[in-house]
């Protein structure tokens, strides 16, 4: 049967190549950054930081990858293969921290250094990097919403997914802050947008239909405000609602102009990407990260270090940026 011959030929070819392949040499240490999903502006901007660190430091090779769909399983599979590939360090922005514990433990067992971002409950990480204290960040959003809506009325919060820990912490931080104002009523909190502007838009429309008198929206994922802004604009409620949340200036610009989104805050994902790689590099070299240290990136000049959920540490910066209609043009991303 010719099929058998084809098979046999392949097997022979395979065995010859096997030997040849073993000769390939290992290059300089590689740090791979794994993000939640590829193609979203937030992570495209992060990739700039990852590349920048590689350019500034030619002793390491840096790169960024991420699944095409925001699915924790797909992200776990990517990391699984990196562990098999035996890269020097993995820097992860987890889709869902708890589902990665297993694979990151295997990474550690194989001598791979693990650094995370936005995952302060992660056990199997050496260093988790947070741009800021999350509860405080959520409270800041809420404070602005409260001020804008006159400290009374209905408001709601969005999260990328309920598994995205930081999003939930921002929503909770906001809710806690709102307790100061008895007139404010939180309705159907923590709507999941699954990091998809269309889902956020549909959710926001549903909420506007259900609560026509709603005044405040707090976005969680970087694209939530875009979806909310679109829904608000379509409903013609620009002046009656207050939309604040995390977002990127370029994406949100037109909604800031129209007033559908009132203000956004963010931390520069480029800096976060840079810092993650810097920290990973330091861990590879065996350098210790100390409280009050300057990591050489804006917002991370004086980081605070505390104990993590596992054996690792959590490094917290003060890297937030507030932007509204007047100054969003200053940020080219």
């Amino acid at each position: 049967m010719p099929d058998f011959r084809k098979l046999a030929a392949c097997t022979v070819a395979l065995s010859t190549i096997w030997g040849a392949a073993a000769a390939t040499a290992e290059e300089k240490p590689s740090i791979v950054t794994v993000v939640k999903v590829t193609g979203e502006n937030w992570f495209t901007r992060m990739a700039e930081g990852v590349a920048a660190y590689g350019n500034d430091n030619d002793t390491v090779a840096t790169s960024q990858i991420g699944p095409g769909k925001a699915d924790a399983a797909q992200q776990a599979r990517l990391i699984e293969d990196l562990v098999a590939k035996k890269v020097s360090a993995i820097a992860v922005v987890p889709m869902d921290a708890s589902s990665l514990e297993g694979v990151l433990k295997r990474a550690a067992q194989r001598g791979i250094k693990v650094v995370t971002h936005e995952a302060d409950s992660m056990k199997n990480t050496l260093v988790d990097i947070e741009a800021f204290e999350n509860k405080a960040f959520g409270a800041r959003f809420n404070e602005k919403i409260a001020e804008c809506m006159g400290k009374s009325g209905k408001w709601t919060s969005f999260v990328g997914s309920l598994g995205s820990l930081t999003h939930v912490q921002w929503a909770d931080g906001g809710a806690e802050n709102a307790k100061k104002y008895p007139e404010m009523e939180l309705v159907s909190e923590k709507n999941e947008s699954f990091n998809d502007a269309n889902r956020a838009y549909e959710k926001a429309r549903e909420i506007l239909r259900k609560y026509p008198d709603i005044k405040g929206f707090q976005g969680g994922s970087a694209i939530d405000v875009i979806g909310i802004g679109r829904a608000v604009e379509e409903a013609g409620l620009q002046d009656k609602t207050c939309v604040f949340g995390i977002g990127l200036p370029k994406d949100t610009g037109s909604y800031l102009e129209s007033g559908a989104v009132d203000g956004i805050s963010f931390w520069d994902p480029k800096d976060a990407g840079y810092v993650m790689n810097k920290v990973a590099d330091m861990v590879i070299k065996g350098e210790e990260i100390k409280d009050g240290m300057d990591l050489g990136v804006p917002g991370y000049e004086k980081v605070s270090v505390k104990k993590g959920a596992g054996d690792g540490i959590i490094v917290v910066g003060e890297a937030w940026v507030d932007v509204d209609k007047s100054n969003y043009g200053k940020y080219p991303f």
Binding site: C10, A73, E101, L162
Partner: protein, 328 residues
């Protein structure tokens, strides 16, 4: 019945070998070392069990499909851990905990599968509608139990071993996948149930006139699908040390892709287990190869499409011959 090498089988075997060869050439030693094979093998079962379920559903004919697989897998894991975490201490009795977890998960899977079977065989709903409905039901239940967040199981040695340790260099979960696949293959080929299922899928009317208990067979088939889904759920729980309702939301379509690529006929009546296994491994190896080579994940979706079309094109001739044989 002798073991046959048909076009599907040889095509899939070629893809498997080609992926390894390409890996060895393009990536180098790290791709062909034992660790990577173990790593790839242990990634197969999650999807593999689901694909076996899809295969059985497809074989049963009448537009048979199981869209609720991954939802039921997650629900099994979530429910098992939810009910056990208060009852049995994982620290004091890890072995009892693990077996209980497996038991409850299988039970949930069986009940879920029986629900699908009931809706399809007894109520007479179209499989795609019935399983779409139960998919939402299972997902909803898992969300209600957990409030939408992940439940972290933590380190439980026997469970962790099942997900990560090897037996004679073969990852335990992959070994189980092979054993289950072999069993299903044997059932399809050698038992009256298997033969009746194939006949039913081939021609439901003829099967009815031949006195084959259609409803019972459909019911059993979907119950087994549910059981397979819960095994996938146990594998997921063991490998991620956690359970969550939306894990693997992209798996529904990939599991169907694996089955179709394995040559399972969507109209029913034909499907080979060995092809499903090879289809699952080839997809995994190509996927890992792309990861090793830093190829974009968007290209991967495109590659699956191309692969599927190439497969259909190369096996087209055989299908035609088969149809002619039936008509004559």
């Amino acid at each position: 019945m002798a073991f046959q090498v048909d076009r599907q089988l040889s095509f899939l075997a070629t893809v498997n070998v080609a992926a390894i060869v390409a890996g060895a050439v393009l990536v180098g030693a790290s791709f062909v070392e034992l660790y990577n094979f173990q790593s790839m093998a242990s990634q197969v079962p999650e999807l593999g069990f689901l694909a076996l379920g899809v295969m059985l559903a497809m074989i049963s004919g009448n537009g048979g499909i199981d869209l609720s697989g991954i939802a039921l897998a997650n629900l099994s894991g979530v429910a098992a851990y939810f009910f056990l975490r208060g009852a049995i201490s994982a620290d004091d009795a890890p072995l009892l905990f693990t077996w209980s977890l497996i038991g409850v998960a299988l039970g949930v899977g069986l009940v879920g599968g029986m629900l699908n079977g009931f809706l399809i065989a007894k109520v007479g709903l179209t499989p795609i509608i019935a399983t779409l409905g139960t998919q939402l039901l299972f997902t909803g239940l898992a969300i209600v139990l957990t409030n939408g967040s992940a439940l972290s199981i933590g380190y439980v040695e026997p469970l962790d071993d099942f997900g990560n340790a090897t037996i004679l260099s073969v990852p335990q979960c992959f070994a189980l996948f092979l054993v289950v696949a072999l069993a299903i293959g044997a059932i399809l080929r050698f038992t009256p149930f298997g033969q009746r299922l194939l006949l039913l899928g081939n021609n439901a009317k003829a099967a009815r006139y031949a006195g084959i208990p259609e409803k019972r067979i459909l019911f059993l088939t979907y119950a087994v699908c549910g059981l397979l889904a819960s095994v996938a759920g146990i594998v997921i729980a063991a490998r991620t040390s956690s359970v969550k309702w939306d894990y693997g939301s992209s798996y529904v379509l990939i599991a169907i892709l694996i089955a179709v690529m394995a040559g399972v006929r969507p109209e029913g009546g034909y499907g080979r287990v060995i092809c499903v296994v090879l289809s699952a491994t080839s997809l995994q190896m190509l996927s890992s190869l792309f990861n090793f080579m830093n190829i974009s994940n968007f290209f991967r979706d495109l590659a699956w499409g191309v692969l599927l079309l190439v497969f259909i094109a190369t096996s087209g001739f055989d299908f035609r011959a088969w149809f002619r044989a039936v008509r004559s």
